[in-house]
Symmetry: C2
Subunit: 718 residues, 2 copies
C-alpha cells in the first residue's frame, strides 16, 4: 500500500513541477507597453492586497477552529487531536492554490493582451498556459496533501483505517471552509465592482466597459481575478478534495463491512493521481492555428483527456478492486463501480449540455428573454427568473437518475465514485475555466490601454469560446457537488453507525427529521440573501463613489461630455481629443478598489459562519437524526438554488450580449443603447450576484455542511 502512496505523491510532484515550469514560461513572455505594464501592475496589486486582507482574517478563523478541533478530539477513541493538523493543512493548501493561481493569472493577463497584438494563436497559448498553472497547482496540492497525510497517519495509527480516514477528513473541512469564504468574498468583490462599473459607467454615462474614464474599472478587473480565479480555484480544490475524501470514507466502510483489503480506500487517490498525468497530457492537446477556431483546441484538450482517463479508469478499477464485494446486503462487482463512475461522467456532461441550452446565445430560452426585453426591464426579469427556475427540471431528473443508477451498480460507494469520475480531470477542467477570466482581463487591459480595436476583438473571441466548455464545467461542478455531498452524507451516517453500533434511520416522517429538513432547506435561501444583500450594499457604495467622481472631478466630467458627442467609430476633433486625454488617469481607481475590498471582507464572514455553525449547533442540541434531516434539506434546496441562480444569471448575461451584437426581433433590429438593451442590462445586473456570488457558493455550502457533520459525528454520539 505505501508503495502506491509513493507513486501517487510522485504524480502530485510532477504536477507541481509542471506548473512551476509553465509559470516560468509565462514570466518570460513580453508584457507590452509601459501603459499596459502600469495597468497590469495596478490590477495585480489590488488583487494581492485583497488576498492579503482576506487571508489575514481567515488565519484567525483557522487557528480558532484548529484549537477547537484538537481540543474536542484530544485522546478520543477512534479520532485524534491530529485532525487539527489535517484541517490546517487543508486550509493552507486551499489558500496556496488560490494564491499561486491568481499570481500567475495576474502575470498572464497583460502578456495575453500583448500576444493578442500579433495574433490569436499566441494569445490563446498564453491565456491557457496561465489557466493550466492554476489547474495543475490545485490538483497537485490536493493529491500531495491527502496522500502525504494518509501516509503519515498510516504509520501513526498503525493501519487502523477507519480512524485514519476520520482524522483525514479534517483536510476536507479545511479546504471547504476556506473555499466558502474565498468564493463568497471574491464573489462579493467582483460583483460589487461589476455592478458599479456597469450601472453608472455603461448605462448612465454611456461609456464602454473597461473604459479608463470609469473609476471602477480597475476594481472590476481585480474582481475577475479574486472572484473568478482565486475564488474558483479554492472552489475546485474543495470539490476535488471532497469527492476524494467522500469516496475514501465510504471505501473504508466497504472495507470494514466486507472484510476487504485497502483497495477501496486507495482507489480514489489512484484515480486522482492518474488524473494529474492525463491533465498534463491534455494541456498539450490545446492549440489553435492562426485563423482557426479556439473552441476546437479547448475541446480537444478537455474531451480528449476525459476519454483517455475513462479508459485508464476502467483498467485501474477492474484491476485494483476485487471482482465482487458485498455492501449493505447486496453483491456488487468491480465492473459495477466502473459503470457508476461512467454514469457520473455522463450525468455531468448531460447537466452541462442543459446548462448550455438554457444559457447559450443560440438557445430558445435566451431568445425568449430578449423578446421580453422589448416590453421593458420588468418582463425581462420575469422571463429570466422563469428560465432559471425551469432550467432546474432536467438537471434534477438527470441527477435523480444518476443517484439511482450509481446506487444500483455499486451502492453508496458508487455514488461517491460517480462524483469522483466527474472531477478526476479537474486539472484540465480548471485550466479551461481559469483561461476565461484571464482573457477577460486581457480584454480589459486592451481597452484601458487604448490598443487598436482588433486586439480587443481577439481577446473577446478568446473569452467567448470558453463559454461552452465553461457550461460543461458548471454541469460538472453542480453534479459533483450534489453527489459528493450525498456521499459525505452517507459517510456521516456510516460513521455514526460505526461509533454508536446501531443503525441510524433518518426517517422523513418523524417530526425531528422533518424539522431538520425544513431548517436545512431554508439555509440556502438565507445564505443567498446574505450574499445578495452584501453585493447590493457594496454595489450601492460603489455606484455612489463612481457618481461622485463623475461629478466632482472636473476633467472626468468634461471628458464624459465630449464622449457623448461622438458615435462609436467617429473621430474626435483635436480640441475634444485634448480634453479627453486630459482626463486619462484622473479617475481615482484606488478608492473603488478599497470599497470592494473592505465590503467583501466584512460581509463574507456571516454567510461562512452560518454554514459552519448551524450543523454543529443542530447536531449537538438535537442529535444525528435532525442533523441528517438538515443535511438532506440543505442539499436539495442548495442544488436547486445553485442551478436556478447560475442559469438565470447566465441567460440574462447572454440576452444582454445578443443586444450588444445586434439582434433582429419581429423584423426590427435592436442594438446597443436601445431601450430593450437597457432592459437587458438590468436583467444582467440582477443576474450578476446570482451567477457569480450566491449561485456557485451554494455548491460549496452543501459540501461544507456535510463535511462539518462528518467531522463532528464522533463528538455528537455520546
Amino acid at each position: 500500500m505505501s508503495i502506491h502512496l509513493y507513486w501517487i505523491i510522485g504524480t502530485g510532484i510532477v504536477g507541481l513541477l509542471f506548473s512551476f515550469w509553465k509559470t516560468g514560461w509565462i514570466l518570460k513572455q513580453e508584457e507590452g507597453s509601459d501603459k499596459m505594464k502600469r495597468i497590469g501592475a495596478s490590477i495585480a496589486e489590488g488583487a494581492m492586497a485583497f488576498l492579503r486582507a482576506e487571508y489575514r482574517v481567515l488565519a484567525v478563523f483557522v487557528v480558532v477552529v484548529a484549537i477547537l478541533l484538537g481540543w474536542a478530539n484530544f485522546g478520543r477513541e477512534g479520532s485524534s487531536a491530529l485532525i487539527a493538523l489535517s484541517f490546517v493543512t487543508g486550509a493552507v493548501a486551499s489558500g496556496l492554490a488560490g494564491f499561486l493561481g491568481m499570481r500567475v493569472a495576474t502575470k498572464a493577463n497583460n502578456r495575453t493582451t500583448h500576444a493578442a497584438r500579433t495574433g490569436l494563436a499566441k494569445a490563446l497559448n498564453v491565456a491557457f498556459t496561465g489557466g493550466s498553472v492554476m489547474g495543475l497547482s490545485v490538483v497537485a496540492l490536493g493529491v500531495i496533501g491527502l496522500s502525504g497525510l494518509f501516509l503519515f497517519y498510516s504509520h501513526q495509527f498503525n493501519n487502523d483505517y477507519v480512524r485514519i480516514i476520520t482524522v483525514l477528513s479534517g483536510f476536507s473541512l479545511g479546504a471547504s471552509s476556506i473555499a466558502l469564504f474565498a468564493r463568497v468574498g471574491g464573489g462579493i468583490y467582483t460583483k460589487a465592482a461589476d455592478v458599479g462599473a456597469d450601472l453608472v459607467g455603461k448605462v448612465e454615462a454611456g461609456i464602454p466597459e473597461d473604459h479608463p474614464l470609469n473609476p471602477a474599472t480597475i476594481a472590476d478587473n481585480v474582481g475577475d481575478n479574486v472572484g473568478d480565479v482565486a475564488g474558483m480555484g479554492a472552489d475546485l480544490f474543495e470539490s476535488y478534495v471532497g469527492s476524494i475524501v467522500g469516496s475514501m470514507v465510504l471505501g473504508a466502510s466497504v472495507m470494514v463491512a466486507g472484510n476487504m483489503d485497502t483497495s477501496f480506500i486507495i482507489l480514489p487517490l489512484m484515480i486522482a493521481g492518474v488524473g494529474i498525468l492525463v491533465s498534463i497530457l491534455g494541456t498539450f492537446m490545446v492549440s489553435v492555428k492562426e485563423g482557426g477556431n479556439p473552441q476546437k483546441g479547448l475541446n480537444r484538450g478537455e474531451f480528449g483527456s476525459s476519454f483517455i482517463l475513462l479508459i485508464i479508469m476502467f483498467f485501474i478499477i477492474t484491476k485494483v478492486l476485487p471482482s465482487d464485494f458485498t455492501l449493505g446486503g447486496n453483491v456488487f462487482t468491480s465492473l459495477g463501480v466502473f459503470w457508476a463512475t461512467l454514469i457520473g461522467l455522463l450525468a455531468g456532461l448531460g447537466i452541462g449540455m442543459i446548462t448550455e441550452y438554457y444559457t447559450g446565445t443560440e438557445s430558445r430560452p435566451v431568445k425568449s428573454i430578449t423578446r421580453q426585453s422589448l416590453t421593458g426591464p420588468a418582463t425581462n426579469l420575469i422571463a429570466g427568473l422563469g428560465v432559471g427556475m425551469q432550467s432546474t427540471a432536467i438537471p434534477i431528473i438527470i441527477l435523480a437518475a444518476a443517484i439511482m443508477g450509481a446506487n444500483h451498480f455499486a451502492g453508496l460507494y458508487g455514488i461517491a465514485m460517480a462524483a469522483l469520475g466527474m472531477l478526476a480531470n479537474t486539472g484540465i477542467q480548471l485550466a479551461v475555466d481559469a483561461y476565461g477570466p484571464i482573457s477577460d482581463n486581457a480584454g480589459g487591459i486592451a481597452e484601458m490601454a487604448n490598443l487598436p480595436k482588433e486586439v480587443r476583438q481577439r481577446t473577446d473571441k478568446l473569452d467567448a469560446v470558453g463559454n461552452t466548455t465553461a457550461a460543461i464545467g458548471k454541469g460538472f461542478a453542480i453534479g459533483s457537488a450534489a453527489l459528493t455531498s450525498l456521499a459525505l452524507f452517507a459517510a456521516f451516517r456510516t460513521t455514526v453507525e460505526a461509533i454508536s453500533g446501531v443503525p441510524l434511520s433518518i426517517n422523513i416522517t418523524e417530526a425531528r427529521v422533518m424539522a431538520g429538513l425544513f431548517v436545512g432547506g431554508m439555509l440556502p435561501f438565507l445564505f443567498s440573501s446574505l450574499a445578495m444583500n452584501a453585493v447590493g450594499k457594496a454595489a450601492m457604495a460603489m455606484i455612489e463613489e463612481v457618481r461622485r467622481q463623475f461629478k466632482s472631478i472636473p476633467e472626468l466630467a468634461a471628458a464624459l461630455k465630449v464622449m457623448k458627442k461622438y458615435g462609436e467609430d467617429q473621430k474626435m476633433s483635436s480640441e475634444d481629443q485634448k480634453i479627453f486625454e486630459a482626463a486619462d488617469g484622473k479617475a481615482e481607481y484606488g478608492k473603488c478598489v478599497e470599497i470592494s475590498t473592505s465590503s467583501a471582507i466584512r460581509q463574507m464572514l456571516m454567510p461562512g459562519l452560518l454554514a459552519i455553525c448551524t450543523p454543529v449547533l443542530v447536531g449537538f442540541v438535537f442529535g444525528p437524526e435532525t442533523l441528517g434531516g438538515l443535511l438532506a434539506g440543505v442539499t436539495v434546496t442548495g442544488v436547486l438554488m445553485a442551478i436556478f441562480q447560475s442559469n438565470a444569471g447566465g441567460a440574462w448575461d447572454n440576452a444582454k450580449k445578443l443586444f450588444e451584437e445586434g439582434i433582429t426581433i419581429n423584423g426590427e433590429k435592436y442594438c446597443k443603447g436601445s431601450e430593450a438593451h437597457k432592459a437587458a442590462v438590468v436583467g444582467d445586473t440582477v443576474g450578476d450576484p446570482f451567477k457569480d456570488t450566491s449561485g456557485p457558493s451554494l455548491n460549496i455550502l452543501i459540501k461544507l455542511m456535510a463535511v462539518v457533520s462528518l467531522v463532528i459525528a464522533p463528538l455528537i454520539i455520546k
Copy 2:
C-alpha cells in the same frame, strides 16, 4: 355519533342561511349612478365569463378523473368506487364556493363605492359584508359536504371507519385540484391584466391606475375578482377541507392503534362546526364609527373570535377525547392535543407577524428596498430578492419548532390538529381577506366613474387597513399548508402501513428516497416557472394590445396628449376637457378581457396536470418510498418558495407605495414619477406574479400532491 354529525351539519346550514341573508342585504343597497352601474356590470360580466370558461374546462377534467377513480377503486377491498362521488362533490363544492363568493363580490363592489360617497363606516360595512358571504359559504359548504358524505358512508360501509375515511379523502382531492386550477388560472388572469395596465398605462403613458382611458382597466378589475376572490375562495376551501380530512385520517389511525372510539375522527368536524358559529359571531364584532380606524374593527372581529374559539376548543377537546391515549408507543393526553392546537395558532400568528415585518410599509426591509431604488431598478430587484429570501428564515424556524412541539404533545395527530387550529375560524378570516379586493374594486370604480377624490381616498383607506390582517392571514395560510401537508403525508404513510401490514421507513439516506427528494424539491421551481412564463406571455400580449389601442384609436391618443399637459390637480381648459371627454368609453376594454381570459384558461392546465400526474407516475413506477421522498421534497421547497415569493412580492409592492405616498431618503424627497419610483414600479411588477400567481398556488400544490398520494396509496401497494 350520528347525533353529532346532525348538529354539525346544522351549523353548516346556519352558515349558508347567514350568507344568503347577507347576500340579500347587499342586493338591497344602492348601486350609484348609471355610469357606476355600467362599469360594475362590465366587471361582473367579464368575471362571470371567465368563470364559465374555466368551469367548462374543469368539468371535463372532473368527469375524467372521477371515471378513473371509480374504475380503479371498483370492488377494491378497503376502498370503493364511491370515492368518485366524494371527488365530484368536493370539486363541485369548491366551484360553488368560488362562484357564490365572486357573485356577491361583483355586486358589493359598486355598492361599496356608492356607500363611500357618504362615509367610511357604511362603506366598510358593505365591503365586509360582501367578504363575509364568501367566508361563510366556504366553511358551510365544507362542513356540510364532509359531514354529509361521512354520514352517508357510515351507513354504507357499516361503520368501517378506516374505509369510510379512505373514501372520504376523495372530497379533499376534488377540492384541492379545483383550487389549484382556480388559483393558477385566476392568478394568471389578474396579473397579466395588472402588469399590462401598470406598465403601459402608469409608466409609459403616465395615467393613474384604473383610469378610464386605459383599455386594460376593466380586465384589471375583473382580475381582482377572479384571482383574489374566486381563486382565494377555492384556495381557502381547499385548505380548510384538507386540514379536516388530514386530522380525520390520523384520527382514524389513533382509533385503530389504540382501540379507541370515534372521538378522534369526529373531533375535527366538531371544531369546524363550532368555528362556523363563532365566525358568524365575529362578523357582528366588525364595525367602525365614522372617523374611526377600520383596522380596529377588523381586528376585533378576527382576534376576538379566535380567542372565543380557543376557549371553546379547550372544552371540546378535553371533553370529547379520552384523557389519555397511546400513539406510536407514546402516551399522550387530551390536554396535550389542546396544547398542539394552541401551538398551531401561535405559530400561524408568529409567521403572520414576520410576514408583516418583512412586507409592511413601516419596516426596515421595505425601507431598504426604497433606498436601493435610488440607484435604479437593478438594485431595487437585488434588494427585493434578498428580502424575500431572507424572510424565509424565521417562519421556517417557527414551523420547525411547531412541528416538534405539536409532535411532542400529541404525535402526528397533534401536527394535524395544529393545522386545524389555524383554520378553525376560516369563516371570518376569509371574510377579512375577501374584503380587500372588494374595496380595491370599489376604488377602481370610483376612479373610472370620475367620482370626487374623497371617495377614492376612503376606499383606499379601507383597502390599506386590511393589510395587516391579510398578512396574518397569509401566515396562517402558509403555516397551515405546511402542517396540513405533513399531516396528509403522515396519513399517506399510515394508510400504506395499514394496507401492506409492514412499517414504511422513508429513510433519506437510501438512494431511491434521495432521488424522490430531489425531484420533489424541483417541482415548485418548475411549477413557478410555468406560472411566471404564463404571466409573462399573457402580459406581453396585453401590453401590445394596450399600446396598439393607444396608437391606433385617435381619440385615446389625443386624450393622452392632453393629459400630459396638466399636473395632477390642475384644471383643464374647456377645449382640452372636450378632447378628453371625447375619449371616454373609446378604449376597447373587451379585447383586453378576452386576452386575459383565453391566456389564463390555456395556461392553467400544464401546471395543474403536473401537480396531479407526477405523484401518480412516481408512485406507480417507483413505489411508496420514492413517493414519500417526493412529497417531503415538494413540501420543503414548496413552503420555502411560497414564503420567498409572497414576501418579495409584498415588499416590492409596499416599497412602490411608499414612493407614491412620497418618501424622504437621506434628506431628499422622492415622489410618484421620480426615477426611483419608476425603479420601484419595475420591482412591483416582477413581484406581481410572485405574490399573486405562483406564490399562493404553491400552498395548494403541496397539499394537492399529498392528497393525491393519499388517495392512490391503496392502489400502489403490491
